[in-house]
């Protein structure tokens, strides 16, 4: 049944599918996963949400998150627009599991500021890498209220495929507040379900790979949001709080960090200190992965993701969670 439905979709999109198949069997396929060099839609103008403490911008064509600034700390967190990414999904085909849907290859049908505090983004008929165009829609609302960003999204899957995962929001160029090697940045998460027991995991200047090297291109860290409903991306005196309402989530979530294109040396795991090495951009990707396993012809509202900046150390970040935690149902 799934295969038959897929065939129908295929015939509707024959030209694009042929192009996709040609692409998939071409020399370029060797670098398919290397998002760094994937062609992106031309960069459009910026659509901006801004208040006294925060600025966030999206590309009007791709819907990619292109800029994030902590105005209070004068910290440009997302800096280079060309490294901005909107989202990523995986929707395996019946006969082939490898079928990513890369945000970099999508044109947004809507990137619109619908109020002073709210931007709506919409993508439809998504181009997948090996399955042609798929009737999947993603509608995202980003709101900024008193320095707090909320990423809401819903996914409508009218395809015959299961959408296993979606990475959203997606920061393609998450910058440390300083490239000085003494300026350590770490991800702090809760240990043993105790907000007063936080543990760091360094991401700058050292980034040690924590996934099997055989199965990743780049040094990667993946932290389970179900074990820590927030993570703090912490520079010495400031940080970004990213929270999920994992307790109420019907599915599993992960915080994922990838250091592109890699580290200087396997001995010291140092991140290159310049913007470019060997002609390749040096950048940290951070995204929240929703493991939704969304069935064909269904719709899901994603768990909202909260992001906000704060001044101080990890205790200040933990305090944000403490303030929010009482709102959880008992």
């Amino acid at each position: 049944m799934i295969a038959m439905t897929f065939k129908r979709i295929n015939s509707k999109s024959d030209i694009i599918l042929r192009a996709a198949n040609l692409f998939s069997t071409s020399f370029i396929l060797g670098a398919l996963y290397m998002v760094d060099i994937v062609a992106q839609p031309a960069i459009g103008r910026e659509i901006v949400l801004e208040d006294r403490s925060l600025l966030i911008a999206f590309d009007s064509r791709s819907g990619a998150l292109t800029r994030l600034e902590d105005k209070t700390a004068r910290w440009t967190i997302e800096r280079r627009p060309d490294l901005g990414i909107s989202f990523r999904m995986f929707a395996p085909l019946p006969e082939r599991r490898w079928n990513p849907i890369l945000g970099q290859k999508q044109q947004a049908v809507e990137v619109k500021k619908i109020s002073e505090h709210d931007i709506r983004l919409q993508w439809k008929n998504l181009v997948s890498e090996n399955g042609g165009i798929l009737p999947i829609s993603l509608v995202a609302d980003v709101t900024l209220t008193n320095g707090v960003l909320t990423f809401n999204a819903s996914l409508q899957n009218d395809s015959a495929l299961t959408v296993e995962t979606i990475d959203y929001p997606y920061f393609g160029d998450f910058n440390s507040s300083s490239r000085e090697s003494t300026n350590m940045m770490a991800v702090w998460t809760m240990q043993r379900s105790n907000v007063d027991h936080l543990a760091p995991n360094e991401i700058y200047p050292h980034f040690r790979n924590e996934k099997g090297y055989w199965g990743v291109f780049w040094p990667t860290k993946i932290l389970d949001a179900n074990l820590s409903p927030f993570c703090l991306i912490q520079s010495p005196d400031k940080g970004v709080y990213v929270g999920v309402d994992a307790a109420r989530s019907p599915y599993s979530l992960r915080y994922t960090f990838e250091q592109h294109p890699g580290v200087l040396s396997g001995i010291n795991s140092l991140v290159p200190s310049k913007d470019v090495i060997d002609g390749k951009p040096v950048h940290l990707e951070f995204r929240v992965c929703h493991l939704i396993f969304e069935k064909p012809h269904s719709t899901i509202k994603l768990v909202p993701i909260i992001a906000r900046c704060y001044q101080g150390d990890e205790h200040a970040g933990g305090d944000i969670y403490k303030q929010w935690r009482p709102t959880l149902p008992q």
């Binding site: 290397m34 995986f90 099997g212 199965g215 780049w218 993946i222 580290v263 001995i267």
Partner: protein, 694 residues
């Protein structure tokens, strides 16, 4: 958990399901017991003539008494195995040796008959031990005659009941070989050392050590080297102490006799080099040097390239591989370790060695291999024969017959490996595998048949990934595998390797066998070993064999640190851009420096490639920053010292001291022409200097 249970809770514990009857002989203080002594200028070993227990072990020159508590002495311990019953650890109070006598100036014979377990039940088991002392080496041999109806699972012998602190008072560490390294751990942390990784361990103090060896390189069964901390709350009856024994997991069947692998102990003076020297001397008596093709003996480098995974990414079709080979040829890289070329990619579909249709046809892969090798770039096909992918019909239909099972009859599994997608990286949908039984001749034939598919593709060699282990499995307890179970899986490694080598020899004796960190005895069949190192890795394999083709991965985008260590330890370079998923020229900084290092090694081949590696022996280097060094000695006795500045951002000043040096010159990868050495040496950050004696 009692102390014996704690002891067995280490790796041996996984072996034990069912009833285990443990017979230990704990001696009362032998106030009037006479000792039987073996002694030479290097060692003294004394045995209680009543119990036969080893009561003293002394190192003459270093005044180190390794075993010094006669009241804690234990002659041996048996663990009985009775399937179908619950765990039961049973002690016996005392056994007397029926014979404990010195039968020559250097040999003692000990015998124990008609043992009695803790329930008072007689066990018709006889143990006969011969202990010989030759030039400071104490050899413990034992014959076990089991006339009982129960299986003896393991025999703990020899047994040092009161292992003392080192003479210098420093914490004792134990070291053993594993994965191109010599990992070290304090014995107070009860490290688990097993013969499946290393035939010896070194109990090391700062400048003295005890070498303990399983004196049989054929892996007849598992020998555990066990350090057990006893009685953390000390009392007069049970003082805090460390026990040390070797545990022979020999599975002596009812009504059978087994000769155990001898255990050798010898003290040495010095650090780990002196201990490993003892192993090297013994190794020369049994290690069969394998044939090596000439190209691997010369300075050479490889690239590793993965082209497909179980997530069906089909990243590099066979017809596009030639672009990778061209880059290798253009940059003087001699070989490509090709990964994921087989059906379902890396870690999918094992042990099948068919081509992956998603990547192209058999002919396309075959033709690429021929084209690449015509350009001088050898293709080394990556494969694994250890596992059976549980998701494959072949497993369901046939391969289950050869899988290893635990004592409860349940399948052992290896957890599989995660690839690329968030789903797999969350450990969902990973291809788990059954563990194949290499002791089963029928499976060896299956593996051989798959291996012949590799040979048919015309590559210059293959690399067996994970050749060094069988996941958590030690023994297969299932019947119907061509032997009386349980079968020690690692014992099958050599048999299968020999069978595969014979198949390859029919094609070409030059067909290269390489593997991921093969244990030293497996290097007789897998002479080319690749592994990963860190800043503190000990080049023990290089120290054992100065010319063995040992290859180390380089992954960083400007990986001078790794390349300098590779120069220092005479490893081959394996380039792995994007964790071996990219083009060689994806990391030009690393590639350029690697090429300079290989050029330097070609220019000074006599010093840096053909010479004998001595690690740090023979020179002394001090510096005002973090540094490492190694010493090479040429066939004509000239010396070279490679000094590496491990500092990331500062130069160091290093002083190189060579006894009675000749004229010294220096060269570096960046400045390969030799210049007279100016002492002390100034070495820039992240750099290496070679000092050579003219």
């Amino acid at each position: 958990m009692n102390s014996i249970a704690m002891c067995l809770s280490r790796p041996a514990r996984m072996l034990i399901v069912g009833v285990i009857c443990s017979i230990a002989v704990l001696m009362s203080p032998p106030a009037s017991a006479d000792e039987i002594v073996l002694q030479d200028g290097q060692m003294l070993a004394a045995f209680d003539n009543d119990s036969g227990a080893l009561v003293r072990l002394e190192n003459g020159p270093a005044q180190w008494v390794a075993d010094h508590r006669p009241d804690l002495s234990i002659p041996f311990r048996l663990n009985m195995f009775s399937p179908g019953q619950k765990h039961d650890f049973v002690y016996c109070d005392k056994h007397h040796a029926v014979e404990a006598q010195k039968i020559s100036a250097r040999e003692i014979r000990l015998q124990w008959h008609d043992l009695v377990d803790d329930h008072g039940q007689p066990l018709p088991i006889s143990l006969t031990a011969d202990v010989t002392l030759t030039n400071g080496a104490l050899m413990f041999a034992m014959n076990v005659a089991n006339s009982s109806s129960q299986m003896i699972e393991s025999i703990d012998y020899p047994y040092l009941g009161g292992f003392s602190e080192a003479p210098e008072g420093v914490p004792l560490t134990v070291k053993h070989m594993w994965y191109g390294n010599l990992p070290s751990e304090e014995i107070s942390k009860k490290p688990g050392v097993q013969s499946k990784q290393s035939l010896f361990c070194l109990v090391q103090s700062s400048n003295t050590g005890l070498y303990v060896e399983m004196h049989d390189p054929t892996q007849p069964y598992l020998l555990n080297f066990i350090f057990d901390r006893r009685s953390l709350t000390s009392s007069s009856n049970s003082p805090t102490r460390t026990e040390f024994h070797t545990s022979h997991v020999a599975y002596v069947h009812p009504n059978s006799t087994v000769t155990l692998a001898p255990v050798l102990m010898k003290f040495y003076q010095g650090d780990w080099h002196a201990g490993v020297d003892l192993y090297k001397a013994w190794r020369m008596t049994w290690f069969k040097q394998p044939h090596l093709p000439s190209w691997i003996q010369d300075v050479n480098s490889w690239q590793q390239l993965q082209i497909c995974s179980p997530e069906q990414d089909y990243r590099v079709p066979y017809t596009n591989l030639i672009t990778y080979a061209r880059q290798c040829a253009d940059n003087g890289v001699n070989a490509i370790q090709l990964v994921g070329w087989n059906h379902w990619g890396q870690d999918g579909g094992d042990p099948a060695q068919d081509i992956e249709p998603g990547l192209g046809t058999w002919q396309q892969l075959h033709d690429f291999i021929a084209q690449s090798q015509a350009k001088g770039v050898k293709i080394i096909l990556f494969a694994k024969l250890n596992w059976a992918d549980l998701t494959m019909p072949w497993y369901t239909n046939e391969l289950y017959k050869y899988e290893c099972a635990d004592p409860n009859g349940k399948r052992y599994e290896q957890g599989g490996y995660q690839y690329f997608t968030p789903t797999q990286l969350a450990n969902i949908g990973v291809h788990r595998r059954a563990v194949m039984d290499f002791c089963d001749p029928a499976y060896r034939d299956v593996a051989n048949k798959e291996f012949e598919k590799i040979l048919a593709l015309g590559s210059e060699g293959w690399l067996w990934d994970e050749v060094c282990h069988h996941s958590t499995v030690l023994y297969n307890y299932a019947s119907g595998h061509g032997y009386n179970p349980p079968g020690y899986i690692y014992h099958g490694d050599l048999s299968l390797s020999a069978q595969l080598r014979a198949a390859a020899d029919k094609v070409s004796p030059d067909f290269l066998f390489s593997g991921e960190g093969p244990e030293d005895w497996l290097c007789q069949y897998f002479p080319c070993s690749y592994f990963r190192i860190n800043a503190d890795s000990v080049p023990v394999c290089r120290y054992i064999d100065p010319q063995e083709p040992l290859m180390v991965s380089v992954t960083g985008f400007d990986d001078r640190e790794m390349l300098n260590l590779i120069l220092m330890d005479r490893y081959m370079i394996e380039y792995e851009p994007y964790n071996f998923k990219g083009y060689l020229e994806d990391f030009p900084l690393t590639l350029a420096y690697g090429k300079k290092i290989d050029a330097l090694r070609r220019k000074y081949k006599e010093y840096l490639w053909d010479a004998t590696f001595q690690d740090t022996l023979g020179a002394r280097v001090t510096a005002d920053g973090s540094s490492r060094y190694s010493v090479f000695v040429t066939a004509t006795g000239k010396r070279a010292v490679v000094v590496v500045n491990m500092e990331f951002s500062k130069s160091i000043i290093a002083k190189v001291e060579l006894p009675h040096p000749g004229k010294l010159v220096t060269a570096t990868p960046e400045n390969p022409n030799a210049h007279a050495m100016h002492s002390p040496l100034k070495i820039p950050a992240r750099s290496a200097v070679v000092v050579m004696e003219q």
